[in-house]
Amino acid sequence: MLIDCRNIRYRYPNAEAAVFADLSFCLRGPGFHALFGPSGVGKTTLARMIAGNGPRYEGRIETPGVARTLYSYNLERLPGWSCVGDHIAKVTPPSRRERMADLIGSFGLEGCIDARFSQLSLGQKNRANLTRYLVQDFDLLIMDESLANVDETTREKILLKIKGMFPDKGFLYISHNVSEVAKFCREVVVLRNTAKQPQAVSIAGLDLAPDQPLDKSRLERAMLEIVHAA
């Protein structure tokens, strides 16, 4: 079991309607999972609740077997007082230096490690930020639109790299890209507004692995299922 959410109820301060009304879902085992849904449905709020730094809520969230959860999001910035390479190196434990170098190479960051964060493109910023999370010690990494500004081709390469590099870790990938979540994720939790019950529906994705051929008809089915559920 990776994440077990039971009967979550939550209302934003000063809001009339609840954002979560008896929300329950379950994600099993390590792997690449997704949280999908329209804007404003509460994906980020739920992700923060899972990471343990969200607001107080009713219900229960358990992450058995997960000792350390990290939460990253696409607006994060690295401090500007030294270059990106130095920052990443500084937060990388000595035992993971090799992995760091591998990620920098795979994510196409070699050319900008000597630059300040503010000078990077939005896509480079996303990649640099994700790199420093991937060299940390974690069991579950929540990626809240963490690659939102990266072009599609690079993004696919990055996702496959992550999947290949961390087969035993859990990932919760938040994205608005239906084909992406359908293609790369094992389970896609579709979060819906409170008018629809159940509020969360789990749909199986293709969980595409590196060098695995893509079954286009399966992908289309999965995408249709996700869109239909949302």
Binding site: L75, P79, G80, W81, I113
Partner: protein, 254 residues
Amino acid sequence: MLPKRIYQFVIIYLAALGGLQAIKLVFALSDYVIPSPADLWQTAEAVFSRYLGDALNTLAVAIVGHLLAIVLATVVAIIGRLTNWAGALIKVAAYNLQAYPIVAVAPIIFILLGDGLASRLLIAAMICYFPLLLSFIGIFAEPVVDIEHFYTMTGRMRWQLEVKIRAFENNAKLITVTAGSATLAMVGTIVAEFFGANAGIGYSLRIALYQSDLAKVLVALFLIGIFTSLYLALLERIGVWLQHKLVLPTGGTL
């Protein structure tokens, strides 16, 4: 090359002098009320070197007082940021204390510390300390979530890092506030000298006022304006240099 501020000040000063001369001419006022250009020139010749020394003395005290205030405001703002109640208490105390006009507090300072350097320094520091403190508290208490999040998540956040992030992210604001408070430091020193000290341009200004000598007052104001502009220009240069140093890359390619 002289900083732009100096030119601006000289233009304003000359315009004010011109305005005074126009008033003098229109209303046929004597040199006692508004000095003539010749009177002003003669006075300047007579007192300029003495007033220059006085103004430099004042500037030195203002700079030291300003530095003291910056250090103190930084320390107190960092302490005030640690807990909510300490921050709130310091903020309220700073608001209340800065509401007291320095002219009301100055006599107590002079009684306790005498009319020497210590009183001038303290008053100079006090007058720019509270505005600095309030700004610094605001800056150091405001999280830079998008940067701090990673360090908090990974358990790396320390108070030194937090202060460093917030100071760096708000460096433009900090530089503006610090440069802005330099004028207050200069004003504070002059007020201190005017009320109780025995040195500096404020002291000379007071004697000139006792003697109803507007020519001397105008010479003193010219020097005060020049030195304040110079100090501000210097701080702005340091600010630009700092920002350049902090923000621009050290090397490498993009």
